[in-house]
């Protein structure tokens, strides 16, 4: 269906090709998964299928890409529109009209289908994707998962033979992701659509793939094979595969179900090992983080004299907690975004906020930094009410890395960004740069922040926020778009921060990250706290929020592959295995 013959792509102003020597055939009716670390050209490869890559993005493509016999060299994207449906990373950038039904019809209108046909297909697609009751809704009012489904639906209506998806589930909560994947599977099975998709969250998708294409490193030629074969050599792999490799299971399991069948022996062996490693809530000897230069360092300038200086002084923590939220309610218009939320976080503690899209996670984080004023209840961060405290003071108490880290970046070089952060925080010159080199080694000073990869940008934003050394650190959906390597680095960094006494609150959909990092999990639903407890207790019992390792070893409460590995290797009673 899709053929790549000796394809190389080189963008202008780069010294080496993004893709080179790609030879690839995707047969009809298969779901093919494209994997690889960030920056290896996955999006470029996907763009080449729809013709957007040479025609729209510029750059030079050598070789030949044909889709169902049509050469993308001679066919512009619009002439492939009846054949290839493309959904990019950001569904919002995909929409042309503003209501669901019009959006579904847009592609068909462009192709000039007869009104009767259009009407029938829109109805079919609304049912197929479960969008029927949203048909008249403006797209802007939909949640992330709904938007993603509308985006997929909008390219399905022209009945393309090929569907190209770039990270379709990254922004979604686990339940919404399963919805989308179920739809894709139905398309492949019932309609014979060929699906080519790239996705970082392999734990969600690898079991559905018929074939996997691995791009191991930039410019390297791709490896294609069955999922089990490719996963055996892949540098990126989901926990289920990692566990399989650790236990030495031969045909590597790809789904929790396969793994469970083979895990009986492992479970038995683990049952003999005392217990899952001592769950580390907060390393209790953690001192409450020497408060960062409260009022002494601020650079003196005029506004400061008029500012609320007395507010700066009463900094100390009332009873050891970094933040304390009681009976918090937030209303936006008629919508109650949060209701009666109570939460306190101790120094050194890592808390994961989970819940479906729109449950109020981001609202809670933004309330903690004072961008939203609580409607009822009280919020204290480091003893201060955030919404009534000067931003400059607040930045020393709490730092938030927003969902889109690039919002924090204004300057045009990393060095300028660091200098600005130092002066903002009143930190001695160079302290931000030191953090950057620690979190993000090997990035030269004169790099433009926009040229950094997703993971690097996150690290830079994190460094900027940490320059003020806030005892409370908030991260909103930090692993979106990160590959496993970048994620592992992030986990390392956050662990170190927590052990230094920083309290960390993450809002995330990533159950594996939660399992690895969080001491405590708080689940929000409809703006209320529905669960709050140690990670193991909250997560293991929940079908949606349990990490793969926990599901595989179910009655036992292991959360991560690392725990299992440590348990198998360290204590001597058992016998070492491959």
């Amino acid at each position: 269906m899709i053929r790549f013959e000796q394809v190389s792509v080189r963008y202008e102003g780069t010294d080496r090709p993004t893709l080179s020597g790609v030879d690839l055939t995707v047969p009809e009716g298969e779901l093919v998964l494209l994997v690889g670390p960030s920056g290896v050209g996955k999006s470029t490869l996907l763009g080449a299928v729809s013709g957007l890559v040479p025609h729209f993005t510029g750059g030079v493509l050598t070789g030949r890409v044909t889709v169902d016999g049509r050469d993308t060299r001679t066919h512009k994207p619009r002439e492939l529109a009846d054949l290839v449906g493309t959904v990019g990373q950001d569904p919002l950038a995909h929409f042309v009209t503003d209501t669901v039904e019009d959006e579904l019809a847009y592609g068909m209108e462009s192709l000039g289908l007869a009104p009767g046909v259009m009407r029938r297909r829109v109805e079919e697609t609304l049912d197929l994707l479960g969008l029927a009751e949203l048909r008249d809704r403006p797209i802007a009012t939909l949640s992330g998962g709904q938007q993603q489904r509308v985006a997929i639906g909008s390219v399905l209506t022209p009945h393309p033979k090929v569907l190209v998806l770039d990270e379709p589930t990254s922004a979604l909560d686990p339940a919404a992701a399963e919805d989308v994947l179920a739809v894709l599977q139905r398309l492949v099975h019932d309609l014979g659509t060929t699906v080519l998709m790239a996705e970082h969250r392999l734990e969600r998708v690898v079991q559905y793939a018929d074939q996997v294409v691995l791009l191991p490193s930039p410019g390297a030629s791709p490896v294609m094979g069955t999922p089990a074969d490719v996963m055996a050599v892949s540098p990126v792999r989901p926990p289920v595969v990692a566990l399989g490799r650790l236990a030495g299971w031969e045909p590597l399991p790809l789904s929790v179900r396969d793994a469970r069948r083979r895990a009986a022996g492992l479970r038995e062996r683990l049952a003999r090992i005392p217990l899952p490693a001592p769950e580390g809530p907060s390393p209790s000897p953690a001192p409450p983080e020497p408060l960062p230069a409260p009022a002494a360092v601020p650079p003196t300038f005029l506004g400061r004299l008029l500012g609320r200086r007395p507010h700066t002084a009463p900094g100390p923590l009332p009873d050891g907690d970094v933040t304390r939220v009681e009976g918090l309610g937030v209303r936006r218009g008629r919508v109650e975004a949060l209701r009666r939320v109570s939460l306190s976080v101790a120094p050194g503690e890592t808390v994961a906020l989970m819940g479906r899209n729109g449950a109020g996670k981001s609202t809670l984080l933004t309330t903690l930094v004072g961008m939203i004023e609580p409607t009822t209840g009280s919020v204290l961060v480091g003893g201060l009410p955030p919404s009534r405290t000067e931003p400059r003071t607040m930045a020393r108490r709490v730092g938030l890395v927003p969902q889109e880290p690039r919002d924090l970046l204004y300057a045009d070089t990393v060095a300028a960004e660091c200098a600005a952060a130092d002066s903002d925080a009143g930190a001695p010159a160079g302290s931000c740069r030191a953090l950057v080199s620690e979190l993000l080694p090997g990035v030269p000073d004169d790099t433009h922040p926009r040229d950094l990869s997703e993971g690097q940008r996150l690290a830079l934003a994190l460094a900027l926020v940490l320059t003020a050394r806030p005892p409370l650190l908030l991260l909103d959906e930090p692993t979106r778009g990160l590959d496993y390597a970048a994620k592992a680095r992030l986990v390392g960094v956050l662990r170190r921060l927590a052990s230094k006494g920083h309290a960390i609150v993450l809002a995330t959909h990533d159950v594996e990250l939660t399992a690895e990092l969080a001491h405590r999990v708080v689940i929000l639903a409809d703006g209320e706290v529905v669960a709050d407890g140690p990670t193991r207790q909250v997560v293991v019992s929940s079908p949606a929020f349990a990490p793969q390792t926990a599901k595989i070893l179910a009655p036992q409460e292991w959360l991560t592959v690392a725990q299992v590995r440590a348990a198998l290797e360290a204590p001597v009673p058992g016998e070492p295995t491959a």
């Binding site: 042309v96 068909m108 462009s110 192709l111 000039g112 022209p158 936006r332 931003p391 607040m394 969902q403």
Partner: protein, 383 residues
């Protein structure tokens, strides 16, 4: 007995149904209604009538708007109207006005201007007459704006496009996409300003605006490019193969027609060319329309569920037209009632018949389909 059931059936048939895609009023009907009200407003300076017009528009908006994002623009237009009145008053007070008056309210220190600036005045005497005149004048403009705002919040502007001829549709889509640039820009500014707060910087001030200006523009540009890519990949701008002769004829007709329209208009306006002006204008129009029609052959696009003009649409559009017609007629019949005197200051009175005519504009609040109740949870938050 039969009569009661008959009446019951009639009242059931008359009661407005709940709005769905199928019975949605064409955007054009709402616009005609609103333009009718606006035309009526342009014929009077009577503040009571203007207030009545604004009230009618406001009532219909309150009764029939949805909770779509564009439906929230009514408040913005109201504020804009008040702003216009304020500006008009301010100009009148500081720059004076040609309205003679005897009731001096206060005197501002005047600024002597050189001879060549004759007719321009800064400061000086401010009379009650001139203030009232400015107030009436500003109110008229504000009422016009508010009527347009009502149309904007009742009908999705993008759907007006559905009524464009095929040859213009693609251009129309481009315009609409370009127009979404502005609201997105505002959203970006808000987001980046809050992000500044995260870095402990003050969010106000010129410095803040300058610093986030570039990232905002960059972001907006990136998004526009992304939308363009998406449109391209979804078949925007696909054309059918058309014989070269047809293409050439289209070009000749369109170009020639537009030239004809220009020349004709010039002829009409230039007084001495009135003889050939009108025929030239008409011929140009016909040629241009034919060109558009022929050009439509190149586009393959079809329309999905175009809005239908039903009885309700006619009633809505007709009510607006009726208000306009009644007011134009009243302006001709009794100009004094519609333009309350300023120079001898008199209290405006509400003329009975024009006021009753304005109330016809309330008809849409009864006949237009009722939008469904607001969804309980409008998940505007994204996480």
């Amino acid at each position: 007995m039969t009569r009661t059931t008959g009446a019951a059936r009639l009242s059931r048939a008359l009661r407005a149904p709940e709005a769905t895609r199928g019975n949605a009023l064409p955007a054009g009907a709402w616009w005609l209604w609103a333009l009718g009200l606006a035309a009526a407003a342009s014929r009077t300076t009577n503040p009571l009538l203007l207030g009545l017009l604004v009230g009618v528009a406001g009532y219909v908006v309150a009764a029939r708007r949805t909770d779509a994002p564009w439906a929230r623009s009514y408040g913005a237009f109201l504020k804009l109207g008040l702003f216009v009145i304020g500006v008009r008053l301010l100009f009148s007070v500081f720059l004076g006005s040609p309205v003679p008056g005897t009731h001096t309210l206060f005197t501002l220190p005047g600024l002597p201007l050189p001879d060549w600036a004759q007719g321009v005045r800064i400061g000086g005497r401010v009379t009650a007459e001139q203030v009232v005149f400015a107030l009436y004048d500003g109110a008229k403009l504000a009422a016009l704006l508010i009527c347009v705002g009502a149309a904007n919040s009742l009908a999705n502007p993008a759907r007006l496009l559905k009524s464009l001829p095929g040859a213009l549709y693609e251009a129309g889509v481009a315009v609409v996409v370009a127009m979404t640039f502005a609201p997105n820009l505002v959203a970006d500014v808000v987001r980046l300003r809050t992000a500044r707060r995260l870095r402990g910087r003050p969010t106000g001030g010129i410095g803040a605006v300058l610093q986030i200006g570039l990232p905002v523009l960059e972001g907006a540009l990136e998004r526009s490019v992304a939308v363009a890519a998406s449109m391209d990949a979804r078949g925007y701008g696909r054309t059918a193969r058309v014989p070269a002769s047809v293409r050439r004829t289209t070009n000749a007709l369109t170009l020639g027609g537009l030239l004809g329209v220009c020349a004709g208009t010039y002829g009409l306006l230039a007084a001495e060319g009135a003889v050939y002006g009108l025929p030239l204008l008409l011929a140009g129009l016909v040629a241009a329309l034919a060109g558009l029609r022929l050009g439509g052959r190149r586009t393959v696009r079809t329309r999905y569920r175009p809005d239908r003009w039903g009885a309700r649409a006619w009633l809505v559009a007709g009510s607006g037209a009726a208000v306009a017609a009644a007011m134009i007629w009243a302006a001709a019949a009794d100009p004094a009632a519609l333009h309350p005197g300023v120079v001898p200051l008199t209290a405006p009175v509400l003329p009975l018949w024009p006021a009753a005519a304005v109330l016809i504009g309330l008809l849409p609040a009864a006949v237009a389909p009722v939008p469904p109740p607001a969804s309980p949870k409008d998940s505007e938050e994204q996480s």
